[in-house]
Structures are given as structure tokens and as C-alpha cells.
Symmetry: C2
Subunit: 260 residues, 2 copies
Amino acid sequence: MAASVFLILFAITVLTCTAAHDFQTSIHLLRPRQGLGRQLVEGVDCLSWRLAVETNNLRNWQLVPESCESYVGNYMLGKQYRRDCKVVADAALEYASRLNLTGDGKDIWVFDIDETTLSNSPYYARTDVQFGALPYNATKFNEWVAEGTAPAIPAVRYLYNKLVSLGFKNVILSGTNARFQDVRAANLHKAGYRSWERLILKGDADKGLSAVAYKSKRRTELVSQGYRIVGNVGDQWSDLLGANAGSRTFKVPDPMYYIA
Amino acid sequence: MAASVFLILFAITVLTCTAAHDFQTSIHLLRPRQGLGRQLVEGVDCLSWRLAVETNNLRNWQLVPESCESYVGNYMLGKQYRRDCKVVADAALEYASRLNLTGDGKDIWVFDIDETTLSNSPYYARTDVQFGALPYNATKFNEWVAEGTAPAIPAVRYLYNKLVSLGFKNVILSGTNARFQDVRAANLHKAGYRSWERLILKGDADKGLSAVAYKSKRRTELVSQGYRIVGNVGDQWSDLLGANAGSRTFKVPDPMYYIA
């Protein structure tokens, strides 16, 4: 009898415990290489680091801190990243729903590609990439781009298509080299982005320009063609700063790399 | 005998469980009003909401979502806020250490007051304020300002004084009404900010200006007087955007209120 009581108590406790541990594995709780007593190895609080990246307090960083590699990997593949992306899309849609369309087809939203419309998580999850904890390798990354198999970021795809149904036009503006025009268009289409006003990639005339200068130049061209940039969605601050950045900007999270 | 085994098992399980719960109470893990099965009440993920605030994706918001009140309160009073502030200060100092001072005393940093140099957490923690979950009350807030007892944000104070020792001048630029000039100066001094090049508060000539317009105007005056704004530290994006925002901006976290 006593044994049965303990057995029941034990079962309940294990269940409770499992729930707590399950909760612990939820992505934004993960802090890698954490010792006892909540001390963080190397003094890097990965959540604080990520916040500093997202607010543009940290700039020109080269690599994800080694001690945050697991954190970033788990974040990117987990629920918190998806939730963070959803809040971005919800904020953009809330704003879009309050806009009065002029009806001349010139109200546009600008979208970046990598880590905005499309996700490179399958590439970044590779052991030879390690979520940005290893140096960027252009050859390897371009091979991945050439595959044309990047999945959509679901929340951004939802935003993108919802904007189309509201009557906006979307322009896709990416730093990808223009030689990938066909494969990127096919990839976007396959991932669920069915139409765009323009798909602008980096051509020979843009060579040597920084991301901010290139994107500012191309946005200024759009404005000089009569377009009004009412929204601008990107994962890098270099997508969202500079000339004609748009009436509102929306920063999609990306703790994996920094583009100046 | 069987009972003893269960008792031991039970004790071990309870201990493990307690450790997990202890970990859970660490500040950035707190998600209030969370039901079973990880469902969030009202669909608000408070960490995602805070990220959207900090990245300027959410603008002109009036109140902290009710379901995030406890989250924001615990964040502001807990370790994560202090860590987030420290990473801001570290990033600013890393940048400052790489700057070459011209030696003419014209290299300045601009600092905001509320939630930047000084913390209003003692006020916001009051039950009649609830960390921004209740509407802003100017009369009450001004009474608190008039007390002149706001504590420093330690990481920002460290940054502030370190910049002075590196040879920079600091300008304090706040939207506080100029009638509080003496009490704010005394409060800053008492909190450990011992010197400034200027302490600029909002005067009659600034009446009716938005925060961005007011701060842009005052920064532009500084620039026209020969100052170079090398850094700008504030908790609101309205501190950090607009004319002459500075060569680098540093966003201090503030999920309690939004100033347009």
C-alpha cells in the first residue's frame, strides 16, 4: 500500500519534472556551456549578445561567439525564431492594414532574400558551417544558392502573399550576384513566392558597393521611377538603412552573420 | 524495503525538479500566464514582443501588453536587463577605444536621461504604474522626477565615466522639461555622473516638437557649434534617429514605454 502511494507520487513527480525539462529545452532558454550556479562561460550572455546584434549595437562582427554556437543553432531551428519572425510579420501586417493604397500600383514593399524571404538554415546547420561560428566561405555558400532549394520563412511568406492580396506590389532586392537570377527566381517560386514587381540582384554596375550603398542606389532608382516604398523587410540593418529606406522598416532576426 | 526505494527515488526526483524550477525562474525565462502545453495566453510571446520593441519593429505602442506585465517587471528588476545593459556598454566602449580623439575637446557622446543614465524602475515598479501596463500619468511621473532620487543604470554610468577618462565630453540631452534643470542635475550628480559638457532639457522654444524633431534640432545646434557626435546612447529610437544622430548609436533596452 505504502509502495503504491510512493509509486503514484513518483509518477506524478516524474511527469511534472519532465514537463519542466521539456519547458527548459524551449529555444530561448538554452544557454550553452553553462556551468553550475548560472555562471556563463567566457562572460557571454548569448541572449544579450543576440539582442545587441538585432538592435545594431554590435556592428561589423565576423563570427558568432564560439560559446554561443549551440545557442544560435538551437534558436534558428527552434520555436523562438519562428515566434520572433511571426511578430515581425504581424507588426508589418498591422501597419499595412492601416495604409491607404493610392491605387496606381506604385505602393511597394521591398523584401530581401537571404534570411528574409528564404531561409538558409539547412546550409547553416551543416557541420562545416556551424551557424556562423566558422568563417564565411563564398564558394560553398554559392554552391548552396545554386541548388535553389532554400525553404521559405513561413511568417514572411505569409506577410508577402497577404500584402499582394491587399493590393501592394513587392520588390525583391538582394545582394546575390545576378548570375543566379534564374535559380533564385525558381527557388522563390518553389518556396511559395509567386509574383513580384521586380527581382533585383547585384549586377556588374553594382560591383564594389557596400550593401547599404547598393541597396540605397537601387531603392533610389525605384523612387525615381515613381514607386513609393511604404515598407522594407530585411534581416540586416544594411537592408534597412540608407537612402529611401522606406516609410517603415521591419528587422527580421538573424544572429548568424553580419553584412556591412 | 520497496517503500524505501520509492522514497529515495521520490526524493531524488523532487530535487532534480526543484533545480529545474530554479533555472526556470531566471529572468529571461519568465513568461507569465503561460498555460500547459506551452500555449501562451492571448498569443503574445513576451520575449518576441520585447525583441520587436527593441528593433523598432513595433512603433507608437501605448501600453505593455497586459499578459507581459509580469514579464516586463521581472525583466527590468532582474539579471537579464542588467546583462543586456552591460553588453550595450561593452559594445560602446569597444567602439570608443578604437576612436582617435582629435584633442580639441569637440568629440562628444550624447546621452539621454530616463532609462539611459538614470533608471525610473523604482517608479515603474509601483502598483499604480505597473511597469508601463497602466497608462502614463504625467503628474505622477513629474512628482517622481521632482524627488530627484532616480538611481543610475550601473553599466551606463560605467560607460559614461570611462568615456570621460578616455578624453571624450558627454552631453546629456533629455526631453525632461527645463523647469527640472536643478533637480535633474542634482539627481545625476548624486547617481554618479559628475561632469558634463552640456545638460540640455526641453525649453519653451522646443514646445510642440516631437522627440525626434527636438533632439535632432538640439544635436544640429551642437554640430553647428563645432562638436562631432561620435556616439549617441539612448533607450528610445527617437533618441537615435533623425538629423546628426551620431557616428554610432547604442540602444539601451526599454520595454516599459514608447516615446515618438
